[in-house]
Assembly symmetry: C2
Homo-oligomer: 249 residues x 2
């Protein structure tokens, strides 16, 4: 199963399994987030409170606290007295998300272009090389994961923690659409070429160029995902209104 790479932000999005945390809440939240982001539970699925309690080995109290937090982050929808469900992915929101992210990409470019340290660039070079390797292997899952890390790392290189965190939040939202990404295999090479140009601009510290490249890359990626999403919608709509399956109320 794909693993979402994350940085260890204040409330510890980081690694998923057992961590040194003083409270169960702090252990459960990242694990739950991992489950939701990994898509282990499909969007719209009811969240089995009891099952997760057993799985995490905690009582309902900390689990429910975690659910509230995830609801605040938008990954879970709480229906009073009717339980929690995995928040449905609102396909119409993809555009707005990319549009917003574009503004941040531009700022990341402007800032990273003048603040990125040599070690930042070195690390990004390494990630870029790994992306190239994944492309060679045609390892789509690895590419997606590395791509996520690359942009996250770049956001950090901008030297603005608020920016990096906002950026990561949007990335997480997008991550939930990646079932569509699997459709955009054809863009892998194109995406990598864009990354090439991004790296050139970064190494040269040409901030305006870097900003523009990032904004374009973001726009093109967004458009590709939107197309993929449309294809999926087109593919599942024509099969008529399916009879509601039992678990779909």
């Amino acid at each position: 199963m794909e693993r979402l790479p994350t940085t260890d932000t204040s409330d510890a999005t980081g690694f998923d399994d057992e961590r040194s945390a003083a409270t169960l809440h702090d252990i459960v939240v990242p694990q739950l987030r991992a489950i939701l982001l990994d898509g282990e539970l499909p969007a719209g699925a009811r969240i089995p409170e009891a099952e997760l309690c057993a799985r995490f080995g905690v009582s309902r109290t900390p689990l429910r606290e975690a659910l509230k937090v995830m609801a605040a982050e938008g990954f879970v929808t709480l229906r009073p007295n009717r339980g929690a469900v995995v928040a449905p992915v609102d396909r119409g929101a993809l555009g707005p998300i990319f549009e917003t992210k574009g503004a941040l990409e531009r700022l990341i470019g402007l800032l990273a272009g003048e603040r990125a340290s040599d070690s930042d660039v070195a690390e990004l070079d390494a990630l870029h090389a790994a992306l190239g390797a994944a492309l060679q292997r045609d390892d789509h899952a690895a590419y997606t994961r590395l791509n996520f890390s690359f942009h996250q790392r770049l956001a950090q290189a901008a030297g603005n923690p608020v920016l990096a965190q906002s950026y990561e939040a949007l990335q997480h939202k997008i991550w939930r659409y990646r079932f569509a990404v699997n459709e955009v295999t054809d863009r892998l090479a194109e995406s990598y070429r864009e990354h090439e140009r991004i790296m050139i601009a970064l190494r040269a510290r040409t901030r305006l160029d870097l900003a523009e490249r990032l904004e374009d890359h973001n726009r093109l990626t967004g458009e590709a995902m939107a197309r993929a999403l449309a294809r999926i919608s087109a593919a599942e709509a024509p099969q008529g209104r399916r009879r509601k399956t039992k678990r779909e109320a």
Copy 2:
């Protein structure tokens, strides 16, 4: 006491007092947020769990759930086994916040410049007029509040919910620094003149101009707040290291 005007987003930031909500959690979260944003409890202050339970008339369970959510939003710091405190306002973060907000302001300008409806403009005109009136009265508190509403409303006029929500989150962060804003009274008139130009650009739907005006306004506001903050720091630093008062452990 100043009231922070908010819109009713998914998780209901809205009005503060009793609301029609099915769960206590949904009632407590906005109230608690209001308390924290209003600065009723000073930054760094310990949050008296029992007291708030009594005040809200709920047991500890929903209150603690609300605290976790507020911690995720960054307004509260949870220290395991040592209780919750109002998150200290990190003065160093003000710059990054404004820097990030600048990117969003620009996008808001670009989008609102082409998407704002006539009724959007009418409402903003009304808010703008109210700002003028507050300026006349030299009603600083009202100006601050209206200014918040104005920019929020403008963000909505951009027609991108994700953008509006990200924007609001940053506004909330900034709101916590407004103890400094009280120092920047001299900028009121200047700020209003910038708003004048913003409105002109908005009415004319000249998107590039609007974007630039908003970005400038944001930058100037941020700089003014930074100066005010520096003045405050300078004013409180020289009084030597005070002896720790009892309630300050």
